[in-house]
């Protein structure tokens, strides 16, 4: 059950939910519904946040007291239970990926193996910096160990980078691309040969298209001997409030994926702004995305070539690879020197001297570069600091923009469709 091989075989875009249900029977029903949806799908088991931080006592307490968990506690359930969840559903024709968010995921990886599953995701940077205070050097070591654990579980291992989604929003696309590629290289150096690289939809469709092309170009250049594909995440920040707004946002993500040849898409549901979505809401989102993808089959977005985003991402990757012969040490050194510096990330190992802002067209731009090694290629930054009011506006830009048509207001020009050639 290799996710990479499965995706390569499909005639169109593979769509996938972010589904995670605490109860094994409900989780099984959710996987079955995903498999049976009118779409090319992959299955998802998203874990709860106590499992993410390794607080297994809290899960025991919640299970005993009947308190709802926000995902599937794979470490707390026995391997037999999880095998029964996927038995007869997961397989060569329907791979199931485990999604978590942990910087200390060894127990999760062992549980993945024990349940006979072969695909999961994350990365030493992307699952460390945004959440909590685990030292980056420890996360880097943990993820090396986890690559070995996953490979020990037998053939078919697949890992996806979460680096293209860092903090979900307000990170300029070039750094998302750079971190996604660096995490893929890290997995590769630790023996993985089936790898997917993520990129999360941001605030301007043209910029996203350019970023995905840059990601695909760098993947081809730096991982030529691996089985790779690209996975697009529907926007992860504040969701539109209207059903029409959420649908339009998802359609835009499909356009970015289909236009750039990305192979897989993680969807967002209409319920997301308010609560954890139901299985039925997930299926509706998957089928909407699949229909939109089918309607766009064969369309190709303009490829800007080795443009601005490619050049910035290349400069960051190049600087990190030159920081140390050992990629793990290079990553730690790079953050210490500010060669990688995630805007607004408060982790103690992030330099915190870069800043980003949205320009009038909704493009994510650098306001401050700190020590990022892109001064020679980056566009001019601006003089004034980002204010608290502007920052709040940035966080809700996508929500306001996509709700506007549904509420009878005009759509900002920035959100018009990217150029598409048949």
């Amino acid at each position: 059950m290799n996710l990479g091989a499965y995706v390569r075989r499909q005639p169109g875009l593979v769509v996938q939910p972010r589904m995670g249900l605490a109860d094994p029977r409900a989780m099984r029903a959710g996987l079955r519904a995903t498999r049976d949806a009118a779409a090319i799908t992959a299955g998802t088991i998203t874990l709860d946040s106590y499992t993410r931080v390794g607080d297994l006592a809290a899960i025991e307490y919640a299970m005993r007291e009947g308190i709802a968990l926000n995902g599937y506690p794979i470490v707390s359930h026995s391997p037999e239970v999880t095998r029964a969840v996927v038995d007869g559903i997961g397989g060569d024709d329907f791979p199931v990926q485990v999604r978590h968010g942990s910087a200390r995921p060894q127990a999760i990886f062992r549980a993945v193996n024990a349940a006979g599953l072969r695909a999961t995701e994350g990365g030493p940077i992307s699952y460390c910096l945004p959440y909590g205070r685990t030292p980056l050097a420890e996360s880097v070591a943990n993820w090396a160990e986890c690559c070995a654990i996953l490979l020990d579980g037998g053939p078919g291992a697949h890992l996806e980078t979460f680096g293209g989604c860092l903090l979900g929003q307000l990170c300029p696309p070039s750094q998302l691309v750079a971190v996604s590629v660096l995490e893929a290289l890290y997995f590769h150096r630790h023996g993985l040969r089936s790898i997917s690289l993520s990129y999360a939809q941001q605030t301007n469709a043209d910029q996203d298209v350019e970023a995905v092309y840059a990601l695909r170009r760098l993947t081809a250049q730096l991982l030529p001997d691996a089985d790779t594909h690209t996975v697009i995440y529907t926007y992860m920040g504040l969701a539109p409030r209207t059903a029409g707004g959420v649908e339009a946002l998802l359609t835009r993500a499909v356009e970015i994926a289909a236009g750039t040849g990305a192979e897989r898409l993680i969807v967002k549901t209409a319920a997301e702004a308010h609560r954890i979505p139901t299985v039925a809401e997930n299926i509706a989102a998957l089928e909407h995305a699949a229909a939109q993808a089918a309607a766009r089959y064969g369309t190709v977005a303009d490829d800007p070539g080795e443009g601005q985003i490619y050049q910035e991402a290349y400069a960051m990757i190049d600087a990190v690879l030159n920081a140390d012969a050992d990629l793990g040490r290079a990553i730690v050194t790079a953050f210490r020197r500010g060669l990688l510096d995630v805007p607004y990330c408060l982790h103690p190992d992030n330099a915190g001297r870069s800043r980003s802002y949205l320009d009038a067209d909704g493009r994510l731009r650098w306001a401050e570069l700190g020590s990022l090694p892109i001064r020679a290629v980056a566009e001019r930054t601006r003089a004034q600091a980002v204010s608290s009011a502007e920052f709040l506006e940035s966080l809700s830009y996508v929500q306001r923009s996509f709700d506007a048509p549904a509420l009878g207001r005009s759509t900002p020009a920035a959100l018009a469709l990217p150029e598409v050639n048949r």
Binding site: R133, L167, Y344, H347, S388, F391, L392
Partner: protein, 168 residues
């Protein structure tokens, strides 16, 4: 809740941060989440807002253990501590942290504010608000209360207690 009660008499702000040329020292403010909360954007907004109000901000970030909040308060002697929580555990976490800090004589007079989405689903009850004040907070800003004046009330609190204190 309309505007946050101020339960302690204003005291002089401690000096901290850099001293702008020819100006007064900027008061040092500590911004932090608490142990179970991994959210960041609320903390960034508060940092930017407080900097605009003239404060020198140290932002401890998400998932800060109780003992670290205490150690940072003791080490930095800030003019104010701002705790922010949006994961629904703010009431419970806030009670625990406030009791711990107020138990230290050095921190008995530290202005302490808590705000965010403090309960899991609804606004805090009057009894819950009272419990947070009793535990030692000087102001409570519950996002889920119907108060449209919340951010303004916070600005007023900062102005009254920190940035203008001690000025001629």
């Amino acid at each position: 809740m309309t505007s946050p009660d101020v339960r302690r008499p204003p005291g002089p702000a401690q000096a901290g941060g850099m001293t702008p040329a020819g100006g007064l020292p900027r008061p040092a403010v500590l911004v932090s989440s608490m142990a179970s909360d991994s959210h960041t954007w609320n903390l960034i907004f508060l940092q930017l807002l407080l900097e605009e109000l003239g404060c020198a901000v140290t932002n401890l970030g998400p998932c800060v253990p109780d003992e670290m909040i205490e150690a940072e308060c003791l080490a930095r002697d800030p003019a104010m501590l701002v705790l922010s929580s949006v994961n629904g555990h703010g009431y419970q976490d806030g009670l625990r942290v406030a009791a711990r800090l107020r138990a230290r004589p050095e921190l008995a007079g530290l202005p302490m504010v808590i705000g965010g989405k403090l309960g899991v689903s609804a606004a805090l009850s009057p009894a819950q608000l009272e419990a947070l004040f009793a535990a030692g907070f000087d102001a409570v800003h519950d996002d889920r209360s119907a108060d449209p004046d919340g951010p303004l009330a916070f600005r007023r609190f900062v102005a009254a207690r920190v940035t203008s204190a001690g000025r001629p």
